[in-house]
């Protein structure tokens, strides 16, 4: 496509198509969108983050990421749609305009590029990174078990062949370390949302401990508001709660680390499948999924912008 207006959001795209979409969006919106490369994946692919900003320096910021588990294709596809939604609505929709007039939004669409490329060319079921594990024939680390939050505890595997292998040490994966370094160097993130699929849940910390996080009540109420807004579109029902109480114990998780960094509004989404497709969600459900999720994201971003801390 020659511009992002003719980009087909209703189908799945290769990594090169998504990268060229990002460059087009930046070129079309030089006063709102820029691209930051926060690092490189193990195989040397750029870790592209789109920055949506109307000015200022190191403004309070919101982080959104999709595709950290590469086979969860509806998330990268939704992230692409979110990027276009932000530029389309800024200046038109009062809510997103108000948010962007005081905050920046950072969006990493292909958070695990090596894994995503691998799902298109070698193994559609691939979830992890693609870094070899010394001493093992099995490749890859679960990038949602590699963070320095309860790392090494129950809720992740020590076996490199496991889908939930935590890695040799915290932040061993460049895809994770790059976000860690970027978040630390920026120092002013107020919300962090990591988007997975599938099982229709909205989760907040903690996953590695049953100890409730100190903002549990507020995060719980905001999650309830967010999933209510989400369901208002197509009635897609979500469960919500802390990771450990809602699904299972998971150590080394992304949003446990971000919450422990002081980013209060830390959430993980598990998007659709509303039926029986699992990760092979039909492409005709991409846009409905993105649209309903956007309502929930707006609830979280709106609350964040009105409750600065």
């Amino acid at each position: 496509p020659r511009n992002t207006d003719s980009f087909d959001f209703s189908r799945y795209h290769t990594i090169s198509e998504i990268y060229s979409f990002q460059d087009m969006l930046v070129a079309e919106n030089p006063n709102l969108v820029s691209k930051i490369v926060i690092g490189q994946s193990y195989e040397g692919r750029p870790l592209n983050v789109l920055k949506f900003s109307t000015g200022g320096t190191k403004r309070p910021a919101i982080w959104l990421d999709t595709g950290i588990h590469s086979r969860e294709w509806v998330t990268q596809a939704s992230g692409t749609w979110f990027a276009k939604k932000i530029v389309t609505d800024y200046g038109r929709d009062p809510a997103i305009t108000a948010i962007l007039n005081k905050m920046d939004i950072f969006l990493e669409i292909v958070t695990n590029p090596d894994g995503y490329y691998f799902t298109h060319n070698s193994n559609r079921m691939w979830r992890k990174t693609r870094k070899p594990n010394s001493g093992s024939s099995c490749v890859g680390v679960d990038p949602n078990r590699n963070w320095d939050a309860g790392f090494g505890g129950a809720g992740a595997s020590n076996n490199p062949c496991s889908e939930t292998y935590r890695g040799p040490r915290a932040h061993s994966e460049p895809e994770v370390k790059s976000i860690v370094d970027f978040v630390k160097s920026h120092g002013n993130f107020k919300a962090f949302v990591s988007i997975h699929s599938y099982s229709q849940m909205l989760l907040y910390p903690y996953g590695y401990t049953k100890t409730p996080c100190k903002d549990q009540a507020e995060l719980h109420n905001l999650a309830k508001k967010a999933i209510t807004d989400l369901a208002s579109l197509y009635n897609t029902s979500y469960r919500y709660g802390s990771i450990i109480n809602t699904i299972y114990q998971a150590s080394g998780g992304t949003i446990d680390w971000t919450y422990n960094q002081g980013i209060k509004y830390s959430y993980t989404f598990e998007l659709r499948d509303t039926g029986r497709y699992g990760f092979i969600l039909p492409a005709n459900q991409i846009i409905p999924t993105a649209k309903e999720t956007w309502l929930a994201l707006m609830a979280i971003m709106d609350h964040t912008s009105k409750n600065m801390y």
């Binding site: 496509p1 087909d8 189908r11 889908e163 599938y198 469960r239 699904i247 299972y248 497709y277 492409a283």
Partner: protein, 96 residues
């Protein structure tokens, strides 16, 4: 390219709390090479697991022997993947 002919995705529904650890035990049976799409959480959430063709019969016998209910969510994963690939390719051709 990894092919998934004959792989099935089973949707397992625990009857009660006592069955949850029985289902969780499947995670340790590495010889089955199971891929949990949805892990064991609680009785109200199904467990979805991809079962390679070579393990199908053993896994089904294992589940049935413990009176654990399951249904076949995806009968042949490769068929679905082929459909997804065809759809991507035809959409790309139309775009061109």
């Amino acid at each position: 390219k990894e092919m998934f002919e004959g792989h099935q995705v089973l949707r397992i529904v625990a009857k009660d709390e006592t069955q949850l650890p029985l289902i969780k035990n499947l995670e340790d049976m590495v010889e089955f090479e199971l891929d949990f799409w949805r892990g064991v959480t609680d009785v109200s959430s199904p467990v979805d697991v991809r079962v390679p063709f070579h393990s199908l019969q053993s896994v089904k016998i294992h589940l049935e022997s413990q009176d654990i209910e399951y249904s076949i969510m995806i009968g042949d994963l490769q068929v679905m993947l082929d459909e997804e690939q065809q759809e991507m390719e035809s959409a790309a051709r139309i775009a061109e």
